[in-house]
Amino acid sequence: MRMSRFVVGHDALLRRLERQRAEGRIAHAYLFTGPPQVGRRTLAWTWGMALLCPESDPPCGVCRSCRQMQAGHHPDALLVTPEGGSLKIDQVREVQRWIARTPVEGPYRIVVFDQAQEMTTEAASALLKTLEEPPSYAVLMLIAPSPESLLPTVVSRCQIFPLDPLPIPVVRQALQERWGLPPDPADRLARWSGGRIGWAVQAAQDPEMWSAYEERIRQIRALLTQGRTERFTFAEKLADEEEEARLAFLEAAIAWWRDVLILASGADLPLRHAEERETLREVASRTGFHRARAALEATRRAWLALQRNANARLALEAMFLDWPHA
């Protein structure tokens, strides 16, 4: 099974795909679901690479076809991404024309729709017929956060392969073995990533991302002891930053409060920020279960509000009102 050389984790899914190939039961439409940065696109593209590779134990990674795939310009593979925020009907029509032509080199023509949830209703409906009865050589792959984010009529034509965040040990091991990180930072990044291998790898290669994360955790801790004025000043500052930074702060805060909630509930579960178990435990005992829950809910609410283009400063201020003093 060579696909695992190109994909971290997801062993069970790879085995299933591998068996499909071995038995010649390749589906004509796949749906890969899961949160961002867990390796959906890598998996889809590697599957395409395996299908197109002429060697006996594909993907070999060295033949012409594999190299073309890795470089992203194989004549029989097409990656479709949203244009200006959505996948449009014209893009689907273009795919239909492209797929109507027989393969140039390999046995298949492969189309991967990234962020398929951004398909307009018109585009998705236009795709239905092609999804249901595509040419015999066509393999269509869709990538989306969940089946619910697509039209049910689209989903019912696809084989669904759900990808989850990876187990923390798998991320840790990959960081050590494939990206050469020492054990301790590998462990830290793995936990902080929450199983998002994409995030962990980026952070491993970019020390700034790493220190930015640590800074965020420091801020969260500091904010707890601060009064309303300081918190509101911070909210104002954060509101002025890039959207990405705001969301990253809130995501860290959600993970942090979840740790507090777990400790406050008395459950013995792995923590995302195990390196500061003592601080977390202290906060948990001072805030108690209910206030920790309220803080977590408030933080999640703020995160959702920002997703929906709410006024950032107001959302953050409202959230800080619900954070306890500890």
Binding site: A12, P36, K129, S136, P162, A267, R300
Partner: protein, 519 residues
């Protein structure tokens, strides 16, 4: 070569169409009597047989078999051509990709030519609801009076998006969702014919997951059959990311006993075993729904294995019935909440914690003494029913000290909570309704309630529900004289409440040091 099972197993004769007898029967009768309409609308959920039936119709009207009863014979030249997708006179149009007026104009032009090899030209317009309104308009005339050799079949999953002018020109057939049993039967046929080894229970799982769509079920079967091992319940569960039922049942147990830590640990354990949080939430909904049905005393209708029902029965006694609708809503929301998908467990965990709070709340409310139509606490003998009291003039009322003091807005507010409690003991819906109104004012022995909408007010006033009568009765008992309710509609529910009752204003006052300038 990719060739999905659901395409291979597309029915080739009317008898093979599953669960749509009301459609196939009528169509066959029409064929027998030679009463074929020129335009049909096939409406229904995905994967229930619309396109399939449309193709069968095309076969049947063109089949070369001698006897009408045998059509489609599935053997003649025409039938074979349809099976292989090469009958020129069966024209399938994907309305979703060809939705504009130009395509329809083009179609209108071609409709006039007579069929090349068959008796009828059959146009199947799939996903018909996607046509633009101009396209629909262009189609109108053709649909109304098509040439005699043409049959139109419009297929859609969303008939409400088809204009009424089109609907009225078509004979409409509604395809229904298939029952779990029907899907299982079809799966059994396929499994037997394909030589796939599968546990019967596993097929039940597949069928249940498909929620009435045969194509969903067959797609899942196809996916599972790609492995050489037999299809077991365990494998289906793993593929679906379902949790073990005993684990689900333990989570519900933890819920009933307010054991947060245990519940969170169980959820984490299930996820570690490979379950998807969303699927877990769905299972919890299914389980709690079973509990609710059992509490209502109607478990026969449940579509669940017996052992699960037995487990649910135990929990039916432990969980407060009034909390269940809320629990089910919480987990339903968690099942579809993918917004924080980068932390897939979070939505489920929070739903669980909130569910525990809801249970605790319901339990305390239950154990609290239910002060039903409380006798007036004064020394006066328990007054009989309100109607038996001497009719008192409104002027005299405020002073009438026999009850528990005068009826003022203040007094009413003070007692409102206990009044709600008393109402709740008699009728939950009335209490729920009452919570949506606000106390507007008191005029003599008349209490004015402000409702946020006509709808709620009318519901409250509806003599059939007896809601208003009940509340008047309880108010009368509380204050010791007949109280009448007057209803008004005030869009702003906040009117009539002191500003400090508003949580936002209170927060501004308490946390931010604001002052209320005007009340």
């Amino acid at each position: 070569m990719p060739f999905a099972l659901y395409r291979k197993w597309r029915p080739r004769r009317f008898e093979e169409v599953v669960g749509q007898e009301h459609v196939t029967h009528t169509l066959r009768n029409a064929l027998r009597l030679g009463r074929i309409a020129h335009a049909y609308l096939f409406a229904g959920p995905r994967g229930t047989g619309k396109t399939t039936t449309a193709r069968l119709l095309a076969k049947a009207v063109n089949c070369l078999a001698e006897s009408v009863d045998e059509r489609p014979c599935d053997r003649c030249r025409i039938c074979q051509a349809v099976n292989e997708g090469r009958l020129i006179d069966l024209i399938e149009i994907d309305a979703a990709s060809n939705r504009g007026i130009d395509e329809i104009r083009d179609l209108r032009e071609r409709v006039r030519f007579s069929p090349s090899e068959a008796r009828y030209k059959v146009y199947v317009i799939d996903e018909a609801h996607m046509l633009t309104s101009e396209a629909f308009n262009a189609l109108l005339k053709t649909l109304e009076e098509p040439p005699p050799h043409v049959i139109f079949v419009l297929a859609t999953t969303e008939p409400h998006r088809i204009p009424a002018t089109i609907l009225s020109r078509c004979q409409r057939f509604d395809f229904r969702r298939l029952s779990t049993a029907e899907i299982i039967r079809r799966l059994e046929e396929i499994v037997a014919a394909e030589g796939i080894a599968a546990e019967p229970e596993a097929l039940t799982w597949i069928a249940r997951q498909a929620t009435g769509s045969l194509r969903d079920a067959i797609t899942l079967l196809d996916q599972l059959a790609a492995d050489e091992e037999p299809i077991t319940v365990e494998r289906v569960q793993r593929t679906l990311g379902a949790g073990r039922w005993d684990l689900i049942s333990q989570v519900v147990e933890a819920l009933g006993e307010s054991e947060t830590a245990r519940g969170l640990t169980l959820i984490a354990q299930a996820v570690e075993e490979g379950a998807y949080p969303q699927q877990l939430a769905r299972q919890l909904v299914e389980y709690l729904r079973a509990v609710m049905w059992i509490q209502w005393g109607d478990p026969e209708l449940l579509d669940l294995p017996a052992e699960q029902i037995a487990m649910a029965q135990r929990h039916a006694r432990a969980l407060p019935p009034e909390a269940l609708p809320r629990l089910i809503r919480l987990f339903t929301a968690a099942a579809s909440d993918m917004r924080t998908a980068w932390q897939p467990q979070l939505a489920l965990e929070l739903a669980f914690v909130e569910a525990i709070l809801a249970c605790q709340h319901a339990q305390t409310a239950r154990t609290a003494p239910a002060p039903t139509p409380a006798p007036p606490p004064s020394a006066a003998p328990p007054s009989p029913m309100a109607g038996a009291l001497p009719p008192s003039s409104p002027v005299a009322v405020p002073g009438a000290g026999t009850g528990s003091g005068s009826l003022t807005l203040e007094a009413l507010r003070e007692r409102w909570a206990s009044i709600l409690k008393a109402v709740r003991a008699q009728s939950l819906p009335t209490e729920a309704l009452l919570k949506s109104c606000s106390l507007h004012s008191v005029e003599g022995n008349t209490v004015v309630l402000a409702w946020p909408s006509e709808l709620l007010r009318d519901k409250f006033q509806d003599p059939r529900t007896k809601a208003q009568a009940l509340v008047e009765d309880i108010l009368s008992h509380t204050f010791g004289f007949p109280v009448i309710i007057k209803n008004v509609v005030a869009r702003k529910t906040r009117r009539g409440r002191p500003a400090t009752e508003d949580p936002l204003i209170r927060r501004a006052v308490e946390d931010l040091g604001a002052q209320v300038e005007e009340e």
